[in-house]
C-alpha cells in the first residue's frame, strides 16, 4: 500500500465524523440513483416489451404525406391516415432488407359506430391480415370470449376496454357470435335493466375516407379480447379484418384488385346508355343461380377455402417493422428513409416512440423527471460534500502547508484530496449501489401491479419490474465519478490557495 494511499486512508479515519457525513450522503444518493436507474431501465424495457413487442414493432412506415407522425393513439385529431401509395414497391424493399425480421402492413384509424337511432360513438380500429398479425405479435392478446376471426373472414375483435364506452355511446352490449351474455361483465346500469338490455353480435362501423365520403358496414363480432399489457391504453384499439376496414374507408380492397373483367364487360360498364346497360342479363348471368342459400350456409361452405384474391393487393396506411437485435433503431430508420427517398416511394420510416406520440412523450417525460430527481439528489450531495471538504481543507491548512514546505507540489496535495473523496465515494457509493440492487430485486420479486394508466407507464407495463444491468452499473459509477469531481472542485481551490508559509508560526 503506497504512502499516499496510507495518508488518504488514515485521514479518512482521522476525520471519521466528516467522512461519515459525506459517506452517508453518498450512500443514500447512490442507492436512490441505482433504484432510479433501475426504474428507468425497467420502464424502458417494459415499454419495449409491451409496446414494441406487442403492438408496434420497432419502426412504423407511413405515407410521407402524413402530417403528424403520432399515427397511433392520436386521440385528438381523428383525421384518417394517408394511404401508402406505393405499397408493392415498399414491400420489395422490406423483403430485401436483412435487418428486418418481420413486418405487418395494416390500416389504422378511427371509425364511427352507429346504432339504429343513428346515434354514434367512435372507436379505433386496426385492420389486419389476422394470420400475419398473429405471426408478428403472437403474445399481444388473449381472447376472453368467442374466437379470433379467420383469415379472409369478416370479423372484429372488440377489446374489453372498448366494449364499455361502446355501450355508453350506442347503448348496446356486444357479445361474440355464438357466445352467451356474461352478466358479470356488464356495467352496473345494464345489470339493473337486464330486460331492456340490447345485446348485439355485430357492429356497424362508418369510416371517414380521404374524400370525406362515408360508408357504413356491418361487421360480425367474433370475439372479445384483452391485450397482454397496457390494456387501459392500448385497449382503445379493436382488431378488424383488413377488408372490412378498407371498405369502411373506401380504400381499395384485395377483392377489388382481384376482379378481372372481360373486354365485353369493360365495354359494357364504359357505356353511358343505361338502356343498354340493363337490357340484358349478360352482366350477372354467371353469378345468378336458381338455388337459395343462407349466409351461415355460405360461410360454412367456404370455410377453409383459400382466398381467391390476395389481401396484400389492397391498400394500407401503415406497416409495423420488427428489426434484428443487431441493428439500432436509429440506424434502421435512417437507412430505410434513405432507400425510400432514393426510390421515390413516398413513404417514411419513423420510430415506434414517434408513432405512439403522447405515450412515447410521456415515457420520455417520466424518464426525464426521474433523471431530474436523481440529479437534484446529487446536487444536494455535491453542495454538502463540497462544504464539508472545504472545512476539512481549512482545518488541515497547517499540515498541508507543511507538506508544501518540504517539497510537495500543489498537484500532490490536490491528488491526495481527490483520492480521499474518491475513496469515500466509491466505498460508500458502492455500498449504496449494492443496497440499490437488493431493493431492485426485492421490488421486482414483490410483483407490484397496477391498473392505473399513468402508473403503467412508469412501470413500463402492468407490473413494476425495475431491472439492473451492467450499463446501469457503469452509469452509476460514472455518476459517482461526476459527483466526486464536482464535490472537490471548490475544496481544491481552497487547497490550492494554501502556501508553505501557512505552516510557519510567525514570530
Amino acid at each position: 500500500m503506497g504512502l499516499t494511499f496510507r495518508i488518504v486512508w488514515r485521514n479518512i479515519w482521522r476525520h471519521k465524523g466528516k467522512s461519515l457525513v459525506i459517506g452517508i450522503i453518498l450512500f443514500i444518493g447512490a442507492c436512490l440513483m441505482t433504484v432510479g436507474n433501475g426504474m428507468i431501465s425497467g420502464m424502458e424495457k417494459g415499454m419495449t416489451e409491451n409496446i414494441v413487442d406487442l403492438f408496434t414493432g420497432d419502426i412504423v412506415i407511413i405515407s410521407d404525406e402524413q402530417e403528424k407522425e403520432n399515427v397511433l393513439l392520436d386521440m385528438m385529431s381523428g383525421k384518417p391516415l394517408k394511404v401508402i401509395k406505393n405499397y408493392e414497391a415498399v414491400r420489395e424493399v422490406l423483403d430485401k432488407e436483412e435487418m428486418i425480421t418481420d413486418y405487418l402492413p395494416a390500416t389504422s384509424g378511427m371509425v364511427y359506430v352507429l346504432n339504429d337511432r343513428s346515434e354514434m360513438g367512435s372507436i379505433y380500429l386496426l385492420g389486419v391480415d389476422i394470420d400475419r398479425y398473429k405471426k408478428m405479435f403472437p403474445e399481444s392478446m388473449t381472447i376472453t370470449e368467442g374466437r379470433i376471426f379467420q383469415r379472409g373472414e369478416r370479423g372484429a375483435l372488440i377489446s374489453e376496454e372498448a366494449r364499455k364506452p361502446l355501450y355508453d355511446f350506442v347503448e348496446y352490449w356486444v357479445v361474440p357470435q355464438g357466445g352467451e351474455l356474461d352478466e358479470s361483465k356488464l356495467p352496473e346500469d345494464a345489470k339493473e335493466d337486464l330486460v331492456n338490455l340490447d345485446v348485439r353480435n355485430d357492429v356497424v362501423f362508418m369510416g371517414a375516407s380521404v374524400s370525406n365520403s362515408t360508408m357504413d358496414i356491418r361487421v360480425p363480432v367474433t370475439g372479445i379480447m384483452k391485450y397482454k399489457a397496457l390494456n387501459k391504453i392500448w385497449g382503445m384499439y379493436c382488431l378488424v379484418d383488413i377488408e372490412s376496414f378498407r371498405e369502411a374507408h373506401h380504400y381499395v380492397t384485395g377483392a377489388d384488385s382481384a376482379v378481372e373483367l372481360s373486354p365485353e364487360e369493360e365495354a359494357l360498364l364504359a357505356t353511358d346508355d343505361l338502356e343498354e346497360l340493363f337490357s340484358t342479363g349478360e352482366l350477372f348471368a354467371d353469378v345468378v343461380t336458381e338455388e337459395s342459400i343462407t349466409l351461415e350456409e355460405l360461410q360454412e361452405e367456404t370455410a377453409g377455402e383459400t382466398l381467391s384474391y390476395n389481401l396484400d393487393e389492397g391498400s394500407y396506411n401503415l406497416a409495423f417493422i420488427r428489426l434484428t437485435k443487431e441493428v439500432s433503431q436509429q440506424e434502421a430508420v435512417k437507412r430505410l428513409n434513405r432507400i425510400f427517398q432514393e426510390n421515390h416511394l413516398n413513404v417514411k420510416a419513423i420510430s415506434w416512440k414517434d408513432a405512439v406520440g403522447v405515450i412515447g412523450s410521456m415515457a420520455v417525460f417520466i424518464k426525464t423527471a426521474l433523471n431530474l430527481f436523481i440529479m437534484f439528489i446529487f446536487f444536494v450531495a455535491v453542495i454538502v460534500i463540497m462544504n464539508t471538504l472545504s472545512m476539512t481543507a481549512l482545518e488541515r491548512t497547517s499540515e498541508l502547508a507543511m507538506m508544501r514546505a518540504i517539497g510537495a507540489r500543489k498537484a500532490f496535495i490536490r491528488r491526495m484530496f481527490v483520492s480521499e473523496t474518491a475513496v469515500l465515494s466509491f466505498f460508500f457509493g458502492g455500498l449504496g449501489i449494492i443496497l440499490g440492487i437488493v431493493v431492485i430485486y426485492l421490488v421486482r420479486s414483490a410483483g407490484i401491479s397496477t391498473t392505473n394508466e399513468i402508473l403503467q407507464l412508469v412501470y413500463g407495463g402492468e407490473t413494476l419490474s425495475p431491472t439492473f444491468t451492467l450499463s446501469d452499473l457503469l452509469l452509476g459509477l460514472v455518476e459517482l465519478a461526476v459527483v466526486t469531481f464536482f464535490s472537490v472542485l471548490y475544496p481544491l481551490r481552497v487547497v490550492g490557495r494554501i502556501v508553505p508559509l501557512d505552516a510557519i508560526v510567525r514570530e
Binding site: I406, K410, P500, L501
Partner: protein, 226 residues
C-alpha cells in the same frame, strides 16, 4: 564555495495602515558546510530571513541565490522542487504529519522525490532514525511522542533526502535543556559527518556554543558577526 548569497534583502508586512519592516536590507554569504546560527531577540527578523532563504516566503526586494540560482526567477514548481531536493526544514513546532508514524514521516520526502528503491529507502530511513535515537519508536505516531522526540523526527525528515542546506527555525525553542543539547549535538555531528550546511535561528545563548559562526540580527538588520 558559497551555497547561499543574500543581497539587499528587504521584507515589509502591511499591518493595517502601517508597514512592519521585518528585514531592512540584509547582505550575507553562507559557505558550504557552514554551521551558522542567526541570533536575535523575538521580532528581529530571524524567521522571516529563514523563510525567504528557504523559498517559502518572498522578499519585498533584494536577491537570494542558492547555488547561484536566483530564486525569484523560478516558478512555483521549480521553487517546490528546489525545496524538495536542496533544502531541509526543521520547524519550531515540528510540523509532522499526524496520521503517519515515525518511519513514514521520515520517508515522506523520499516519496515526494519518487525514489522507487524500497530497500534503499528503508536503509536510509532506519539509519537516520537510529541516528536520532528513535529506533524504538519507529512505529509510533507523533501524538505518542514527546516534544524532543518529535523534533528529532523532524530532523531525520529534513536530513533523509541529503539536502545541501538545512534551515532550522529555533529548533530547541520548545524543548527542555537536556533534549536541546542532544538535538544540537546531533545537528553538529551530522554537519561534520555529512558536510550539510546548517543555518539555525535562536535567541538562546546556550545554543550558541555549538555554532561555528554566528550572525546577530536586530530590527531586521545584521548588527554583528562572529
Amino acid at each position: 564555495m558559497n551555497v547561499i548569497e543574500v543581497q539587499g534583502l528587504k521584507k515589509d508586512y502591511p499591518l493595517g495602515k502601517t508597514t512592519v519592516h521585518a528585514l531592512r536590507g540584509v547582505d550575507f554569504l553562507v559557505e558550504e558546510g557552514a554551521f551558522l546560527s542567526i541570533v536575535g531577540p523575538s521580532g528581529s527578523g530571524k524567521t522571516t530571513l529563514l523563510n525567504i532563504i528557504g523559498c517559502i516566503d518572498q522578499p519585498t526586494s533584494g536577491q537570494v541565490k542558492i547555488h547561484d540560482q536566483e530564486i525569484s526567477e523560478l516558478n512555483d514548481k521549480q521553487v517546490t522542487d528546489l525545496r524538495l531536493h536542496k533544502i531541509g526544514f526543521i520547524f519550531q513546532s515540528f510540523n509532522l504529519i499526524p496520521v503517519l508514524n515515525v518511519r513514514e514521516n521520515v520517508e515522506f520526502p523520499l516519496l515526494l522525490r519518487k525514489v522507487e528503491k524500497k530497500a534503499e529507502i528503508n536503509t536510509r530511513v532506519e539509519k537516520l532514525i537510529e541516528a536520532v535515537g528513535l529506533l524504538d519508536y519507529i512505529d509510533h505516531k507523533p501524538a505518542e511522542l514527546s516534544g524532543g522526540q518529535r523534533q528529532r523526527v523532524a530532523i531525520a525528515r529534513a536530513l533523509v533526502g541529503a539536502p545541501d542546506i538545512i534551515l532550522a527555525d529555533e529548533p530547541t525553542a520548545n524543548l527542555d535543556s537536556e533534549t536541546s543539547e542532544a538535538i544540537l549535538k546531533l545537528m553538529r555531528d551530522l554537519n561534520e559527518l555529512e558536510k550539510t550546511t546548517f543555518i539555525f535561528s535562536t535567541h538562546d545563548p546556550e545554543v550558541l556554543k555549538y555554532a561555528k559562526s554566528i550572525v546577530q540580527i536586530r530590527d531586521g538588520m545584521f548588527v554583528g558577526q562572529e
